[in-house]
Subunit: 189 residues, 2 copies
């Protein structure tokens, strides 16, 4: 028997992604999002949701581009800080000592110290309510050579991404390997 716990934005896992943007004065800004996901394979696209009140919202509307930098668990404090502070008041790169790098493909900066980044051009804007959903086409994915594994793809156990639990407000690392997708289920049928 399941117990109702009410209408909540509660699903596991949600990601911890750092959205990079430039403001009108070319100042780089970053903010943390957990409301987001991949949303299309062709065009290759990813969605993130931001409140209009955020500094990044205006930057994306203006520049029509953003990056997603995926932090490793060793930077969980910085990732949390990026979601607490506002770019309206502080330079989050200066505060953390992390380094903005200008993308050569889209009009947005990414975080040099984070191992995996996506460079995105805005292709859709959907007004859902308190949050606006931005869908970006993934123009390129870049990774530190140190996290690459088989076939030149990022090894998730080297990237060590962070996941967020909404409502319980906790961060977790990734755990044990459970199996190969589109494969282990073939035993059934």
């Amino acid at each position: 028997m399941k117990k109702s716990i009410g209408a909540k934005t509660l699903a596991f896992p949600t990601p911890v992604w750092i959205v990079g943007t430039y403001d009108k004065e070319e100042n780089p800004n970053v903010m943390t999002v957990a409301w987001g996901g991949i949303c299309c394979s062709k065009p290759k696209s990813i969605n993130i949701s931001l409140r209009k009140a955020t500094y990044s919202y205006g930057n994306i509307v203006e520049r029509k581009a953003f990056t997603i930098s995926i932090p490793s668990e060793k930077h969980v404090k910085e990732a949390d800080y990026f979601g607490i502070a506002t770019g309206k008041k502080v330079d989050k790169f200066a505060a953390t000592g992390l380094t903005p790098v200008k993308s050569d493909l889209v009009d947005a900066p990414y975080v040099k110290e984070f191992p995996l980044i996506l460079e995105c051009k805005l292709i859709h804007t959907i007004e859902v309510g308190l949050h606006t959903q931005f869908i970006g086409e993934i123009i390129d994915v870049k990774a530190d050579e140190s996290v690459l594994g088989e076939k030149g793809l990022p090894d998730i156990e080297k990237v060590r991404p962070i996941l967020f639990g909404p409502e319980i407000r906790t961060y977790h690392g990734i755990g044990k390997y459970l199996g190969q997708a589109f494969s282990i289920g073939k035993e059934i049928s």
Copy 2:
């Protein structure tokens, strides 16, 4: 120095969620999605992306409702199977021995054996390309009492959700607790 690995739908982590729907004959169906995320806090909403070719696509268009059942890692094989088989040809519940339960709030079934479920009503349909994005308002969240922790909320370490690595096609469990959100970042500034 980061290495370009090309435009790919590659971001970590992505979820492993089971979408539950009814077809025109009231047959319950389930499919696995990794393209999805929470997208708005008011209305409380979640998005999933499906190809038009899937059986579930037509069901959602018709019924304007779906559920999301979040499997524990012990059901990783069933979760994988739900993404391999098609409801056009097989009864995935019968094949796995899992149990469909009719939601009392929305016109869709969920998976009894999975510990955390969301009941959703369709509020937006966005044509992105190969995938259509469905945004559902979260009407209720239900959880097995056995996974509830502090404050009556689901404990992620009891739910033990699965995460998916796109491109590398691997499933992983959740790992160690890294800290409290909106808290550990306060040390910086």
